[in-house]
Symmetry: C2
Subunit: 379 residues, 2 copies
């Protein structure tokens, strides 16, 4: 338990709520949750499911219709055939991450991952009795692992490499050729790639291919939370290689029995054309926010050296202003009412020099936040 | 992974569905899920939550109103004060079990539990790097642990004892004095009790006190699935001792972020008087089923030596008919269309001599099942 760090942003969020309760105006740029409500067709499908009494357990692998719809999504969006039997529905991407690490990681096994990165990844590896090896990454590789880095850090204890594209906290992506190169490097060494694609769909000046296009040995995971806007429903999925499917189902039965049934029925509506139109409109709105916030922060003196092509985060070097980003974030909250996430939540590689801005709030609020930052930094 | 057993009943259930798809009539006495739909006030509350856009993440510990409502439930039902801060909402009792074992069990720690028992318990202990020690129990102790058994099996590596009352697969309960004695025995040795109360409420000729009445060091867990009839919603809760609350929240953040938000809003309606009236009517129906099935099975020659006071299971010695309960169950399914669960799913203590009957189907179906059994056993 001592190895599991809390999210520091939670303490900050709690303080932000206290200040709000006391009447202060707070600009929230700390929250990794889109501000849009779940799209209406999904909500209606959820209500219909409840009317029809869809409240009993599904099979551990999930609702067959939803697994098929996800297979259709891989076909339509990526041109990749993924057999339904390899697709498992999970309680959020959290459930998928836990399955993936439990499947691939044994006692003492090492898993390579980028530092900075999503903090829970390290903890899931630890819970599987493995060791997460954070590889320091920076602007030179767009904060992503490369085949060369994987080669350099690989040793006989390494079992897997965990990639995320687009990534949290940096929003950067792995270009297709680089992704293919990492996968073949890992597989040539007898290892496996765990591919986090939970921000797929939320990309701006580029397009992404799923890692499943390059290998059927990859474990890919995705979520209905981000692009699909279903955070609180807690629904995600896992694509397992054929040799892992049986073990994945067995583990899912034991760990969580099944994902939420009403959520699974609701998610069927996520693949309708009218719902995709809502998602695409929101994607354009996120892009407009990024295109506003990125130059505005740079102008204030934050260094953002890699173009964040996706997700809804900007990871900024704040060393022009502070050598303690946690205190910096606390002070901005207290004095200016701007909530951001300190680097410490994302790893050990220079966290004190970095903060994360989330553009999960509308442009007028972002503009207000930038003005507040400007005054605070001039003071 | 190899240490994680599949549920054998799943293979049986799959075969039952194949037979049904081919037109055969199957009597389902294998399923641990009530046949009642979720009560109407809960469904309505879920639909209202969706209309109101309650689809974003809650805090990791859960919706404050729901935690308070559960505190009120302990006050009203058991006369026990449980501070809201100690109550965490989880994705099903599965989530609560995983939290409880991760909190209390370290590498090499031993956890004592009854054999037969709920199979996932052993696996959660294993996932926490501990060792589950199944203690063979039988009719002499109503298939439950006792203070004396705990004393006998306790050693310096033992960290915790896991109890379930009413229990799966036996339906038996731990009487109040025996429960208090176990708890004080465990705590005198510096250990902790994990108390599974997921079938509380579903008791028939007796009434139960929560383990929280005897000690505030117990970790108690409960579920909205059984008495509250919300299986597919995946919602449960955990009551942690004060010294574990911080770690439990941290772990919940990492493992699953939060439980389903629409489910949490829906569950608020579970504590309304009109909803309780529905639950109580269903409890009486379960009691009527038990009172029908128990003597009928005994008359056929199944030995059921401990009165099952709760849950919706009968655990029967079938050694008069077979020395291989798994083959026996398969044969009954194929030849008579009666689906039951073989003992192998519940542990290593004479599983080949036992089967579990679930009375999660209405009396006319149960009566049909008994008739089919009668013909099969006479053949």
């Amino acid at each position: 338990m001592a190895a599991i760090a809390p999210f520091h942003v939670m303490a900050l969020l709690a303080r932000a709520k206290e200040l709000e309760a006391a009447g202060r105006s707070i600009i929230h740029m700390e929250i990794g949750e889109p501000d849009f409500p779940t799209a209406a067709p999904i909500v209606r499908a959820g209500q219909r499911a409840l009317s029809e009494g869809r409240t009993r357990y599904t099979a551990a692998a999930g609702l067959p219709e939803l697994r098929q719809a996800i297979g259709g999504h891989y076909r339509d969006r990526y041109g990749v055939e993924v057999p339904t039997r390899r697709i498992l529905i999970t309680p959020g991407a959290s459930g998928a991450l836990q399955l993936a690490t439990a499947l691939l990681v044994g006692p003492g096994d090492r898993v390579l991952l980028a530092d900075p990165g999503y903090p829970c990844n390290r903890h899931f590896v630890r819970l599987a009795e493995g060791e997460a090896v954070g590889i320091p990454v920076g602007p030179a590789t767009a904060y992503q692992l490369t085949a060369e880095l994987v080669e350099r850090y690989w040793d006989e204890r390494t079992a897997a490499v965990l990639l995320a594209s687009p990534a949290n906290p940096t929003g950067t992506v792995i270009p297709p050729q680089a992704l293919a190169a990492i996968i073949s490097t890992v597989e040539a060494r007898g290892g496996r790639v765990i591919m986090d694609e939970i921000y797929h769909g939320l990309v701006y000046d580029t397009s992404l291919q799923t890692a499943l296009a390059y290998s059927d040995q990859v474990i890919a995971l995705n979520s209905f939370s981000k692009y699909y806007g279903m955070t609180g429903w807690r629904l995600g999925w896992l694509v397992a290689p054929d040799d892992c499917v049986g073990a994945a189902e067995k583990l899912a039965q034991n760990l969580f029995l099944a994902a939420s049934t009403p959520a699974q029925y609701a998610a069927l509506a996520a693949f309708l054309p009218e719902t995709r139109a809502v998602f695409e409109q929101r994607r354009r709105e996120f892009q407009a926010r990024r295109d506003f916030l990125l130059p505005a922060l740079r102008k204030l003196g934050f260094d953002i050296l890699s173009i964040p092509d996706g997700a809804f985060y900007l990871y900024a070097d704040c060393s022009r202003f502070t050598d303690d980003s946690y205190q910096f974030a606390l002070q901005l909250l207290e004095q200016s009412g701007v909530a951001i996430t300190p680097g410490i939540d994302f790893g050990n590689h220079s966290p004190e020099r970095h903060v994360r801005f989330a553009y999960t709030t509308a442009i007028p609020q972002l503009a207000d936040g930038v003005e507040r930052l400007k005054r605070a930094l001039a003071a």
